[in-house]
Structures are given as C-alpha cells and as structure tokens.
Symmetry: C2
Subunit: 255 residues, 2 copies
C-alpha cells in the first residue's frame, strides 16, 4: 500500500442546494458530504475531509479549502481534474495539491475575505435572486463605508455574533472593510483573521440599516461596545454571502 499523503483542495460552490458545508446527522446534503463521497468514488477509501470554513446553508464560495489523507497514487494536482468528473456541477475543485501531512487549514494563521452582495434595484431580477440579496430602497454606500470603519481592528464582536455561537472568545481582528457600488450592486468586502457564527451577515444587515438612514454611522461604535447581539442590526440572508478566498499567512507547507 502506498504511503499516506495529505491533499489540499480549493473548492468553489453554489450553496443554493446545500444545507451548508458541515456534515451533521440532520443535514441531508452538504458540501462536505458531496466531497467525501466523490473522493471515495475515486479512491475507494473512507474519507472525511477537514474544511477550513463551515459556511452556512445557501452561502456560496469561490475558494473554500479542504484537506484529506489518501493512500492512492493519484498525483496531487490531478485530483482536481478527476474529482470534477464525479462531482455535481454546483461544486468544482479549482485546484488540488499535495501538502505536508501536518498541514491543518484551521490551525494556521489565515486571512479570509468574504463579500456580501446587495442587489440595490427597485425591482428584483430573477436570474440574480440566488446570488444577491435584493434590497429595493436606496442605499448610501458612503455612509456604509463610514460605519464600517468602526469595525476595523481587534474587537470583541459579541454584538455581531449569533447568540448560539460556541466560540471560546469573541475577539477577532478585521483587517479591512470596503463598501463599493459596482453597477446595481453594493458590495461589502470584509477581510479578517477569523469570523464568528453569522458575523459577516450581521455586519451586512447592520451596514444596510446605516445605508438606508435608519442608523447613523457612529452608532456602530456603540453597538460594538455594548457586546449585546440585540444592539446590532438583523442577520442579512445567506444568498448574498460569498467566501472569496483564504490566505495562509505562513504559506502552505508542501512535501
């Protein structure tokens, strides 16, 4: 039997038809489950991929990351090609490579970038309903940007975290937030070292309140300081959220 190797996959998916990334007994269709089955189909091995980010139901990704161990002799960079023949069309492995056996995508210093996309038109657009959050009232993206600045840096993000979060600490560092208008979309782009449960969607819901004039930008500072989920805005719906990319700050160790 060949030596055990660790393979890293960069995965792009349309989250519409999935109950999220993570396998749970009650969730019939998960991205993790689909990947495990496809790799099993290819190698015959029982596989449990380790995902970098457990995206919620309906959330999309361009670049989530997963690793798994295999004794197969398929070259690391060929898994992408081979798996894309087996996977459903809404999940694609955009890159695959062999990495050092000790590499674990959740035990690294990382920077993750998420985008939240708001379709800011009077009328919804059917072909975009699954990939944007439609918001019909005018949004002032400059005020949204002003509000977003208060979130940059290291903070306790309890106000911007689902109350069911089991994270030991709610302190995270947001490195950058930009709010830009691109045609008929308002795009909130957030980069940070880690995100709490629903954090980007609560940030989006809060910035939308500011953008429509229901809250002043400076109120975001007080929301943060209150460390109370009720102080911040609503959780924006999942279809607007995209995990854009993962950056491993110390690089990815290869073999």
């Amino acid at each position: 039997m060949a030596k055990k190797r660790r393979i890293m996959l960069t995965v792009s998916y349309d989250g519409t038809n999935y109950s999220g990334w993570a396998l749970q007994s009650s969730t019939p269709n998960t991205v993790e489950g689909v990947l495990n089955r496809a790799i099993h189909g290819l190698t015959g091995e029982d596989i449990a991929v380790i995902g970098a980010s457990r995206t919620d139901a309906g959330v999309h990704a361009y670049g989530n990351v997963a690793v798994f161990d295999t004794c197969s002799t398929i070259p690391g960079d060929r898994f992408s090609f081979a798996l894309n023949h087996i996977l459903p069309e809404d999940v694609r492995v955009v890159e695959s490579m062999e990495v050092a056996p000790e590499f674990h995508p959740r035990h690294c210093d990382t920077e993750k970038t998420y985008e939240y996309r708001v379709l800011n038109t009077k009328m919804p657009v059917p072909i975009r309903r699954l990939y944007t959050y439609h918001f019909s009232m005018p949004l002032d993206e400059e005020k949204m940007q002003e509000a977003a600045e208060y979130l940059v840096g290291e903070h306790d993000f309890t106000s911007f975290c689902n109350v069911e979060s089991q994270a030991a600490s709610h302190v995270r560092t947001i490195k950058d937030i930009t709010v830009t208008r691109n045609g008929d979309e308002v795009i909130i782009s957030v980069t940070g070292n880690g995100f709490l449960y629903n954090m980007v969607r609560i940030i989006a819901g809060t910035l939308i309140l500011v953008g429509r004039g229901k809250k002043e930008p400076s109120e975001v500072k007080r929301m943060l300081e209150s460390r109370d989920r009720k102080a911040a805005g609503p959780t924006a719906p999942p279809e607007g959220l995209f995990l854009i990319k993962y950056k491993f700050l110390d690089g990815v160790p290869t073999v």
Copy 2:
C-alpha cells in the same frame, strides 16, 4: 361587468426551471402557464396570455412581452405589483400597462435584442453555470466580430435555423451584431426584426467555432449562401441565451 381591457406585461424570468415559454400538452412547467395561473388567481378569469417571443427551455429573459384581456377593474399599472405577490420568484413582471385592445405583440414591427453569454475561463464557475455557457478554450473576439459582420443585413437564414422550423420564410434582417469581452465573458449581442427557431444559438455556436480558430471569418458568408443547416456551426446550449428587450417600432398604442 366592467369593460374588457387589454393589459401588456413586460416579463423577466430565469428560464432554468421552465420547459420554455410556450404551453404545450407535453410541457408541465412553462412561463406562459405560470402567468395564466397567476392572472387567474388574481382576477378569477380564464386567461391565455399572448406572448411576443416563445423562448426555448432554459433560455432567460429580461424583457419578454405578453398581453391578455381582462374585465377586472385593477388599474393597468397595478398588475405588476399584484402579480409579483403570486408569481414564483423566478418570474417577475417588471412593468404592466393598459394598451389599446387591438395591440398584438406579434403583429407589429419590432426590434428584438438577444445576448449570448459565454464564460471563457479555464475552470467552470458553479454560481454562473446556469446563466452562461462555459467554454474553456481561448476565444478571439475580434475574429468573431469580423465573422458576425457577414450576418448583418437582410438574408435567408436557413443555415442558421433549426430544420424543424415551420416559418413560411427564412428571410430575416439582422440590424446589428457586436461581440465584446467583458471581464471573463464574451458577449454576443444581436438585434434584428425577428429570429428563426434556434437562430441566435446557432449564430453563437458558429461564432465560437470562428473564435477558437476552427473556421475563418469569411467562411460565414459561404455558410449563409449555402442555405443548409449542416453548413453552419452547432447550436450553442440554452443557458447562455437572454432575451434582453423588445422595441415596438411604431410605439405601443395606449387607450
């Protein structure tokens, strides 16, 4: 009972889940059928909308047009709002208005614009799989534009028409074709006075052959002259096709 009035709808839809616009005994889910049922739900009348364009299964629209007659007292411009509460999310009435009773969207001089969208990237992108045709080999859009010029004007488009077409004449006038690259998409935009069965998809399939270097631009002239479907390229798949807009050249008569 109120006077009978004719209402015109401008309809945007995601064609993914429909077997096209037109009601047929064998097609369980059509845009036409969904509209008839929604208007029946609103007015209680038996409705058969008259559509301007019978788009194929999987083809999308921003601005298809339909008219119907009603004795209801709902103001013409309120049908949009009222129907959008009943219709599924993948069909939206973007505008509604009362028009003259003799207005028939297929018996007018019109200009229609279609777009065919090719995602020209090495790797497919899951969230765009339903709204573009993915083509991974490089495309030379300048050669495609050069080839497209041969199609502009009044021609017999038999070579660019599904052999099952029942049209009495295959002569149509293409007013304009542009092939542009917008980021990672190559967009073929075609405006004309009318289109034969599969005509835009066959034009797209042919221009893609030129773009990848399998045919010279000048060969399109010979394809057209041969009046033989086998002379042109393949029919490109439906998911890349969008009916963008209808222009009624003599205006829409109101009441």
